[in-house]
């Protein structure tokens, strides 16, 4: 079956998520690329919100799993040079949107699978954002060509991730670990790392991408990546039902707010920027592990976005979205529109 690989990858991710919650990860946040990159940003002291600081092993495992898988299948290849700073900027803006919604495309689906109906609003926003970005893609939007680079360039990112893993293991005093809040909630390190490795390998083999699923369906009516997306939803829903985590409703959902307008616009910004970047944050991590240095720069853009979102009070919390965060999303949408128009080839 042609879709077997991507359904397996999505299904494993969807099942692991509630299990990781059971083992200690925050509710409806078994895996969230945006939240976990934000936690890593905090652990490195690049933001000082004391409740969201942890070197999330899932992220580290994901990159290393993708790297090992790409190396084993001879797909590792150092490539880069396709509008790196524009990618950084788009990733920065996408992160602002994701931290206003409180989740990446993966967590959007996981929140929905936990009964959080605010995520349905976020999902509609994501689909709209991806649709707008896809419209620009079909009219010739391009960030230009990447070219082969010295292979050392491709190894820097996975090596940096190994460095982060060592910092996690040895926990030196200059690394911040939350004592309370979501950052303090985590599954045992080895299990989180193992889960990340497994998902990284499967995602590398299958090219799993949440944003790509929506994009390819709109562009080509191709359901390959979309089946992975749906597999995450079905598996996570089954896991949540089995573990008693499914609680449908809008109010009182974990690490979420009920402001529909900003849930919609936050994810619209994230989806639009991500589709211009060629994929969701998960896919960017995997591609960075495969040696794509543009995607490594994109990950740095996410980290910079997370730092600014928390240092300047733009990120949402359970009580809602600060005015500064609302302004940031609107400016972000305008800037992504400007980048979309200015990078049309014809």
């Amino acid at each position: 079956m042609k879709k077997g690989k991507v359904i397996l990858a999505g299904g494993v991710l969807g099942l692991l998520a509630p299990l990781l919650v059971k083992l200690g990860n925050p509710p409806n946040m078994g895996v969230c690329i945006a939240c976990f990159l934000r936690d890593i940003t905090g652990a490195l002291g690049l933001h000082r919100t004391s409740t969201v600081q942890y070197l999330r092993p899932e992220i580290l495992g994901l990159v290393l799993g993708a790297f090992l898988s790409a190396a084993a299948t001879r797909e590792f290849r150092a490539m880069g040079g396709s509008s790196a700073f524009t990618r950084f900027t788009l990733a920065f803006l996408a992160m602002l949107g994701m931290l206003v919604f409180l989740g990446c495309p993966v967590r959007t689906v996981l929140r929905l699978a936990g009964g959080d109906l605010n995520a349905l609003v976020g999902l509609v926003g994501l689909v709209c954002g991806v649709a707008v970005g896809t419209w620009f893609l079909s009219r010739g939007f391009s960030l230009g060509r990447a070219v082969p680079q010295n292979s050392v360039s491709g190894y820097i990112f996975p090596a940096a991730v190994i460095g982060l893993l060592l910092l996690l293991i040895f926990s030196p005093p200059f690394i911040f670990f939350s004592q309370q809040g979501p950052g303090s909630m985590h599954a045992p390190t080895a299990i989180s790392l193992g889960a990340g490795l497994l998902v990284g390998i499967l995602a590398q083999r299958s090219r799993l991408c949440m944003v790509g699923g929506i994009r390819d369906f709109i562009l080509f009516r191709d359901t390959y990546l979309l089946s992975g997306f749906l597999a995450v939803l079905v598996a996570a829903l089954a896991g949540n039902l089995a573990l008693g985590y499914f609680k449908p409703g809008f109010a009182g959902q974990p690490i979420a707010h009920t402001d529909g307008l900003w849930n919609f616009l936050g994810m619209a910004l994230a989806g639009w920027a991500a589709v211009l970047l060629g994929g969701c944050p998960l896919r960017q991590l995997v591609a960075a592990g495969e040696g794509n240095t543009d995607c490594a720069v994109t990950v740095l853009g996410f980290i910079a976005g997370a730092a600014v979102a928390h240092n300047f009070g733009l990120a949402a919390g359970p009580k809602g979205v600060p005015v500064a965060g609302q302004v940031a999303v609107l400016l972000g949408l305008l800037f992504v529109l400007f980048l979309s128009v200015s990078h049309l080839r014809r």
């Binding site: 290849r77 090219r207 191709d222 994929g279």
Partner: protein, 71 residues
């Protein structure tokens, strides 16, 4: 009729979009040669071409991948 597309170094979905645009215009019996840099792009283009009943041949050229599509 024969066409060549250089989609090397382009990220998804650009290689597929370029290939699709050419495929839409290609008359019966035509051939399109697409150069790509990643296996992901190869898989996407192969999947689209096969779903439309085109013959697909793949070979490598150095580190790049050549996909020959025949209508």
């Amino acid at each position: 009729m024969e066409k060549e597309i250089d989609a090397r170094g382009l990220l998804c979905p650009e290689p597929l979009l370029l290939a699709k645009n050419e495929m839409d215009q290609m008359p019966q019996g035509g051939t399109i040669k697409v150069l790509v840099s990643t296996q992901a792009a190869r898989e996407n283009i192969t999947r689209l071409a096969e779903s439309r009943g085109w013959a697909v041949e793949v070979c490598s050229e150095g580190e790049d991948i050549v996909i020959v599509l025949k209508k």
